[in-house]
Symmetry: C2
Amino acid sequence: MSKKNILYAQSGGVTPVINATACAVIETARINKDKIGKVYAAHNGIIGALNEELIDTSKETKTTISGLKHTPGGAFGSCRFKLKSIEENLAEYERLIEVFKAHNIGYFFYNGGGDSADTAYKVSQISKKLGFPVSCIGIPKTIDNDLPITDNCPGFGSVAKYVAVSIMETSLDVMSMSSSSTKVFILEVMGRHAGWIAAAGGLAQRQADDPPHIILFPEVPFEQQEFLKKVRHAVNTYGYCSIVVSEGVRNKRGKFLAETGTRDAFGHAQLGGVAPVIANLIGKRLGYKYHWAVADYLQRSARHIASQTDLDHAYAVGEAAVRFAVQGKSGVMPVIKRTSNNPYRWKIAEAKLSRLANREK
Amino acid sequence: MSKKNILYAQSGGVTPVINATACAVIETARINKDKIGKVYAAHNGIIGALNEELIDTSKETKTTISGLKHTPGGAFGSCRFKLKSIEENLAEYERLIEVFKAHNIGYFFYNGGGDSADTAYKVSQISKKLGFPVSCIGIPKTIDNDLPITDNCPGFGSVAKYVAVSIMETSLDVMSMSSSSTKVFILEVMGRHAGWIAAAGGLAQRQADDPPHIILFPEVPFEQQEFLKKVRHAVNTYGYCSIVVSEGVRNKRGKFLAETGTRDAFGHAQLGGVAPVIANLIGKRLGYKYHWAVADYLQRSARHIASQTDLDHAYAVGEAAVRFAVQGKSGVMPVIKRTSNNPYRWKIAEAKLSRLANREK
């Protein structure tokens, strides 16, 4: 029996460091040539797997693969496409197993968030049932940092750094201008349900009075009067007000402030544009001159300011996925376990996909 | 007669490197201690000068001053406040001369764009008339790159680098996602009347087909049908479309697409939010899923990705201003003169403020 191949697929939104994970998978598989065959990368995620669009990474040079570490975006493409339940759409799972058979796939690596952990878990179960057992390993990645168990998600650390640096820099800008011009600056960041990214703005604070003066979280219902009071207080006290707002901020009735009515491919409401909503409110009610920025893709593609620790995490989980595969494991995900707070130390641990799937931290 | 002091003031929007100019002025004045007294920095620009809020930089340590080179924002504060014509408001000019007299100011350095060159020019004239001649030197700074004569404006190079890197990174993001999700990404950048910043997005193109696929300039009237045709073509050809749009884009009737009706302190229309306008148009007319970002202050405060050449320019003009002052010059501005294209070489030259004032390139 020949050595089995790996099928590696990325899923969902990219991160500044997801390609570092791809790099680690390919480089570690090459080191384990005696046990593992080729690494195929699905073109555009699971859609590419279903369409049998596989990229044979063995054709790429060492330099090209190594270059992935520094490349933003998702080099092999990603997708927003969630496999339905096995009951609803067995055909899709059968199709996947067919593709696995055709390409001698023994290991399926799915690099994504909670949805992807769920898919990897389902594939591991169905592959056994269909008599072609494949080792299924989830690899964590979300900028939202919303996976349970793992200390943090690869991708988040870089976005956190981006947000902290950006609000620090822009606050110095509005501070300079505030005597006669802009008094309020609002930075909108990602985070549909989890406020981790918005919270990262707080890292810019070195002392209690430092900006940002206000952070609006998706978990905390927006209270207009209280918010306006805080803005006025900051302007009166510091001369300006610097605000980080999460795209997912909701009012007391649970409605997104930036609700546009459109939905993404997973049925989640598609957001964007809460900053101008907040800005207009401030302008109308308090009369302050404002500026606002929506970071959107800027924050999650900013490889130029990626965190080295995050990059190390992203590489380590890819490396561990191959190690787990070689050890014959399935239905698991390598996660980051913190072993010390100060200095920050961590190691790779193992978590069951069944405990990670579809759960938000 | 004691040595005369310098009054240094920043004006208008900050740049990632304006503090490097301040640093150069102070460091170069310290080297010329035998000829020049103290450097006072006006707190919040010309408003601080009028209010006699002067910061005595001689009290700051060498390390603090040197640290300015790496600090975003405007360390001494800036303002949007244009002195009226001498006929309209002689009192303001007389007040300025009073402050000059009170603090033994012999040199007035005004660091800004076209408006500031104009003010510096007026001050140089009125100071002579009022019998207290002050050497007035403009120092160039605008991210818009809209000053004539100088090869480029300190501040612009860093913003250009930010925009080029950002559209390169975000284009890789949308490219990864385009098979099943976002097909169009729009980055809104600054530039009210001049498209230099938007044009910098083009630096991301290494080959003809590289993103950005479309750049919208303030100088070119927006043609809806033609634009939508280009978007559709890009999506059909490359699978996605990456767009840089200047905040100042106007329709055929000359109206800003993002016109909000509000005006800034100089009476210019205040812009922001053309990206969502364009995005909605694409969504409605072509049905593509889109994402958009508004860079706003992010682009002009991004010291972390400043251009070294820009930083060198910013320092050099500050240094030259002191040199001109020592040489007894007035009514002039140090500008950047390109001496070679490839490799890029430059030197500092001298331009008359009367030729720079209130002119846009």
